[in-house]
Symmetry: C2
Subunit: 313 residues, 2 copies
């Protein structure tokens, strides 16, 4: 039986989903074992990711920059370090906890995005995971339960309250977000948010809330944002998205009619596009009616997946 | 084309996934509109969920108990209330924020679980969403960014830092968790955690971490816990699980061999079971080799889904 995932996997062997497929082994057992973690830190090849605020420092070839952990000013002892994992040679890779994100001299958002889109896939995957963790540490220096300070634990995969009477442990969060192509009679519903670049349309999206399945979240979001009722929600693919830490859950759903009623707080516009119009936009045709999301967005993969379906699904 | 989701939906029309399919309309637009929210609160049918700590108070028929919001001691004004949604008559449903969870006289865990498993499905879905939110509020009375107090906002779907210099907003979290059936040549890999009731085996499971897809999380968890490499991960179903607030992402994956190496920190045992052995366990046969998870667990649905596959997938 050929499943959607199998189809997607074959295509992904040519074009992996951005921010996925990190080459590092997370080596979960090292995190919770202080002796093993210390040995990895003291290892010859242990290295530290160079960051500028939350942005990477880019090498001459557009990749990440690593410095020996032993060159760290003041040394790694006592510093708050995040253990990202081991490479194939067993070398530990670490990221620094950045207490103050205000001093960054990183490129402006649009330039940064362009540089990241050109980064080698393996480096982008490592950076994405690191960025989510560094950002999480910066936003969780205090205990949400009691207000006391927290300290890094388990190689950066936990923060623990320093107040012994509380002692709460906190873990890096991942927020599930549904993002969906809605189809009716061979056409797709796409929308644009006010913050999008001019001409851009993309898949609708929204956070999964407590108390609902991902299928229920898809239906709720499409109805809230565009007034369209959907059914037959199918999972297609997922992506870690480090802004700040989402799990994008890409889906496809069917609608019974095309009446649109947008929520102006969420969307500036929503329209149905034909297969030919989507194809023209993906090809970057001069007469395309809209601009598709960049290759790093899972919405772009959804559009490409949809075009590859032999018949309307 | 008949998809797995379509198959599952048909089956689910008989046996919905526990904690899903809440009959309440979340009415997102009401949350952020103080005037509309006040009108819903003042409405004739507005009601408050009775809780005992995080447990529900059970009615004589085993369902939830609601009291008129206007009967609330001190009145609803000024109280921290969570807006759960509107019923078909437009009546507002609310849950109280419980500052101190210590005073509960609720039944012990095993008894509580039995009562919840017998609760009408619609009440269980409402309770699950409410419980996740009430628990989140109790654990987020302070700002993780600056340590100041937080106050409830947007009908309980947000807490905001009272420190104007910080002003961080915090949102109820949902933690994505993968839970998976691993198959090899018609047999399933199931494991038992030390905390399980005697004889219970279930699907392996683990949190999705920052920087990985759900497929990567499935493969990582199975290898970490059982030493088994998997491929061809397929999504099957999802479930909101309110202990405290997970999105269970139920998957199926294939293994190439049966060598098991368990992580004793995670599992007490893991074994391969034949289709006949799984069938006997699901039927509760007296000679069954193990006990399956209860109907409220998505792992039970995964096992039933697997048995319904006409041929080995």
């Amino acid at each position: 039986m050929t499943t959607d995932s199998a189809l997607l996997s074959r295509r992904r062997s040519h074009s992996p989903i951005a921010y996925s497929a990190s080459p590092l082994d997370r080596a979960d057992a090292v995190r919770g074992d202080p002796a093993r973690l210390a040995a990895v830190m003291a290892g010859e090849g242990a290295r530290l990711l160079r960051l500028d605020g939350l942005a990477p420092v880019f090498s001459d070839t557009g990749g990440l920059v690593w410095v020996p952990l032993s060159d760290m000013p003041g040394g790694p002892q006592g510093a708050e370090l995040i253990f990202l994992g081991l490479d194939a040679q067993g070398h530990g890779h670490f990221a620094p906890v950045v207490a103050d994100l205000a001093g960054s001299t990183a490129p402006a958002a649009a330039d940064l995005r362009r540089l990241l889109d050109a980064m080698p896939a393996a480096d982008l995957a490592i950076y994405g995971g690191a960025r989510s963790l560094v950002d999480w540490h910066a936003r969780h220096r205090f205990c949400a339960r009691c207000g006391s300070a927290t300290r890094l634990a388990k190689g950066g995969w936990q923060r623990s309250c320093v107040n012994e009477a509380c002692g709460a442990d906190h873990f890096p969060s991942v927020d599930p977000v549904t993002i969906m192509l809605v189809e009716h009679d061979g056409c797709l519903l796409l929308g644009r948010q006010p913050r999008f670049p001019a001409g851009r349309y993309s898949a609708l999206a929204g956070f999964v809330e407590p108390g609902e399945t991902m299928e229920e979240a898809v239906a709720r979001e499409v109805f809230e944002e565009a007034g369209v009722r959907v059914r037959d929600v199918r999972y297609v693919a997922s992506q870690p998205w480090p802004y700040p830490s989402s799990l994008m859950i890409a889906c496809h759903a069917l609608a019974d009619d095309r009446a649109i009623a947008i929520d102006a707080n969420e969307l500036e516009d929503a329209q149905w596009f034909t297969r030919a119009q989507v194809a023209a936009a993906l090809a970057g045709a001069s007469d395309a009616l809209f601009e598709v999301p960049p290759p790093s967005a899972v919405a772009r993969h959804l559009l490409e997946w949809w075009m590859e379906q032999a018949v309307s699904v």
